[in-house]
């Protein structure tokens, strides 16, 4: 981020118009260059000597070129900073009101000593969870919206051709677009860090838990940003790309959650049920695979938030209640150490002998659960998906792409 910050510093600095610039005439310039050219290439085919790092350097400077250009546009004027300020004010107000709610709930005039310290820790966890949920919401909406137009706008403005005839690698175009589009999201996330650090005043949340929550936020931004970027490269129109991206995000969040809920209801699994037996006469057998929720940023963040709680309460219970235990059981199942394979096998076969215990469903959070086993896999899955989507976008951006989508319009 230090590099990004450096670039940020460079942008508002309007280049002073140097009167001396204009003195050299154009012919001098071109003559000078022409001489250089003759020296460099006595024959027509230029064969420059290349260092082994040349491709890497080309990629780096290409990303910088695209990034600087994009950021100049995005960060110009007051708008970006006004939005940042309003966002922080809103977040602070939200955190404060949540603190008041939590104090009402856990605190009281009669608390003293150890119980006061415990109440303070609970309040800290409450604020931590509230902030992470709101920020996840922000990332889920903002990151794909920022990237959904990035490639298609270049196509619509006919600038992609001009960009493609420069030696800049397609990977640099794609990565530069992604990073610059996400820079503002990153800034919003980072700017909230001091606010989140306020929870340390209350206690109950460890620094590594905050780090986990922010890692999930960043990875979610990259992942959903890549989704938007890929759809933008795939569909030629920004409007279509925005709509498809929006529904894609809805599918990943609400859609997956609904499928899990549906599955659990059909399989007859209750929120607090710890065992699944095969004689349940539901439509579906067994527990829904937690992979369904792997790309649901809220489920991932829930695992982090619950990891911070040391009791079944606060945000952990609230989210579980809200989803009728779907999230709790869905994720908790995977966290119930060692039984994953059994569960998956049970789900896959689905026709075990009646009455036989097919699988252990999660013990209810948090007692006896190995926590923090879901978010690392979700983060890894998001990063892998991002890599795939970026490479696919490069294929789509590259003018002489190796493979073509059967339904993409051919360029004239």
């Amino acid at each position: 981020m230090t590099e990004g910050a450096g670039r940020m510093g460079e942008i508002p600095a309007a280049e002073p118009v140097d009167a001396m610039d204009g003195l050299a005439t154009a012919s001098e310039l071109v003559d000078g260059n022409a001489v250089g050219h003759v020296d460099a290439q006595p024959v027509r085919a230029p064969r420059r000597r290349r260092s082994p790092f040349a491709p890497v350097r080309a990629l780096g400077s290409g990303i910088a070129a695209v990034g600087v250009k994009e950021l100049r546009g995005r960060m110009r004027g007051r708008r970006a900073f006004v939005i940042l300020t309003l966002y922080l004010l809103f977040l602070a107000a939200f955190a404060w009101s949540w603190q008041l709610i939590a104090e009402r709930r856990y605190g009281g005039d009669v608390l003293s000593g150890g119980s006061a310290a415990f109440a303070s820790a609970l309040i800290g966890q409450e604020i931590f969870g509230a902030l992470l949920v709101v920020e996840t919401l922000l990332v889920v909406f903002l990151a794909p919206a920022m990237t959904a137009g990035s490639i298609s706008l270049e196509r619509e403005k006919q600038t992609l051709d001009m960009l493609a005839t420069t030696p800049i690698p397609s990977l640099a175009i794609v990565v530069g677009k992604l990073l610059s589009a996400l820079t503002y999201v990153f800034i919003l996330i980072i700017a909230s860090l001091p606010l989140t650090a306020m929870v340390f005043v209350f206690g109950g949340v460890a620094p590594d838990e905050v780090a986990r929550g922010y890692l999930v936020l960043f990875v979610t931004a990259i992942g959903l940003g890549s989704v938007g970027l890929f759809i933008s490269a795939l569909l030629q129109r920004t409007q279509a790309a925005t709509v498809v991206t929006f529904f894609g995000v809805l599918g990943l969040t609400l859609g997956t959650l609904f499928v899990v809920l549906f599955w659990m209801t059909m399989a007859g699994i209750g929120p607090n049920q710890t065992r699944v037996t095969a004689d349940d006469d539901g439509l579906l057998k067994g527990r829904p695979p937690q992979e369904l929720l792997l790309f649901n940023p809220f489920a991932t963040q829930y695992d982090v938030i619950c990891g911070a709680s040391d009791g079944y309460g606060g945000w952990c219970a609230r989210l579980a209640d809200l989803t009728k235990g779907a999230i709790s059981v869905g994720i908790g199942g995977g966290a119930a150490g060692g039984s994953i394979t059994t569960i998956d096998a049970g789900v896959g076969v689905g026709a075990a002998e009646p009455g036989k215990i097919v699988a252990d469903v999660a013990p209810v959070q948090p007692f006896g659960i190995r926590r923090d086993t879901f978010w690392p896999r979700s983060v890894a899955a998001w990063l892998a998906l991002s890599a795939v989507l970026i490479l696919a976008s490069v294929q789509l951006v590259s003018p002489t792409r190796r493979w073509r989508m059967p339904f993409s319009r051919r360029s004239a």
């Binding site: 309007a14 230029p46 110009r76 001009m162 002489t400």
Partner: protein, 322 residues
């Protein structure tokens, strides 16, 4: 002759259409080469192949000795491409626009600023340095877009329909600019369907239709070949009798195929002969006492040629010209 831009047997096939069908081009260094043809003739496709934006189905294309199919990255460093519907970025200043493309070519920061100033002077936008790109007039945007193709000092410029959508004044400015670039040693390849533009501007032209070259050569050569069989328009001063006499004089010449009185002393002659023959005819007419106010070729030669070549079938006229 081996030119700086060459294509041989270039073919680009789209599902259902053959956009370029075996196109051979040979553009000499330092020329302003016009690619003329009706819409859909394959001009843009050819330029996009040369600009490494499309892969040809078959055939070879070279720019400055570099095969654009095999070495697109090298080719991109020696060519500048301006698409026909050039785009400009919103929310960007003029100098930032050039700075961006200079960065794309990996030009070091120290040289960028100097170069941006020089390029803006070259395209006469020096005082618009801090203006926003979307606020420029179309002619200015065009010149700015042309400037962006020059940031890496390419040997070859590929300009797709550079004159389209420009008002006459902007066109004149563009023409001057292209002449200046030519004097700086650039080879310029222009596609257009606006013939008078190219006639004044280009040193060589290739007439393209249905994806093949129908005629190619220096403008002077093509014109010379064409002069055999041009239309002469003569205006004679005098009373009706004198005009009638002049008409009879011209009609009697063996090289005049037809002579028509247009009124107001104008006579249109279908003339079979080159410039020397027409000069000869003029001299004899003057010697015989006809008072001639003007004596000139009608219509634009290239336009005539263009219509001749592209209207009736594709195979026959190519042979006729070649």
């Amino acid at each position: 002759m081996s030119g700086i831009v060459r294509t041989s047997g270039l073919i680009k096939r789209y599902p259902g259409t053959l956009a370029v069908a075996g196109l051979d081009l040979d553009v000499g260094e330092g020329e302003i080469f016009g690619l003329v043809g009706p819409n859909g003739a394959g001009k843009t496709t050819t330029l996009r192949i040369l600009a490494t934006l499309l892969k040809p189905t078959a055939g070879e294309a070279e720019v400055a000795g570099i095969n654009v199919r095999r070495n697109p990255d090298d080719a991109r460093r020696v060519l500048g491409f301006m698409p026909d519907s050039f785009g400009v970025y919103d929310d960007m200043r003029v100098w930032e626009y050039l700075d961006f493309f200079a960065r794309c070519y990996g030009i070091p920061a120290a040289r960028r600023r100097q170069m941006i100033g020089d390029l803006l002077d070259l395209v006469d936008l020096g005082d618009k340095r801090d203006a926003y790109v979307q606020g420029l007039s179309r002619g200015m945007q065009q010149r700015l877009c042309l400037a962006h193709t020059l940031v890496h000092d390419p040997q070859v410029l590929l300009l797709d329909e550079p004159a389209s959508g420009l008002d006459p004044r902007a066109r004149v400015e563009l023409r001057e600019l292209l002449r200046e670039l030519r004097s700086l040693g650039k080879t310029i390849l222009i596609s257009s369907h606006i013939l008078p533009e190219l006639e004044e501007l280009c040193t060589s032209v290739a007439i393209v239709d249905h994806g093949t070259v129908l005629a190619q050569g220096r403008v002077a050569d093509i014109e010379k070949r064409l002069r055999y069989g041009a239309v002469l328009r003569v205006r004679v001063i005098g009373d009706a009798e004198a005009i009638e006499a002049a008409h009879d004089f011209f009609a009697a010449d063996p090289r005049v195929a037809s002579a028509a009185l247009l009124g107001d002393g104008q006579i249109e002659l279908g003339f079979r002969g080159d410039d020397a023959a027409s000069a000869d005819l003029l001299a004899r007419a003057v010697a015989s006492g006809i008072r001639i106010a003007s004596f000139a070729r009608a219509a634009s030669d290239l336009e005539e040629l263009f219509l001749q070549v592209t209207s009736g079938g594709s195979g026959r006229p190519a042979e006729a010209v070649a």
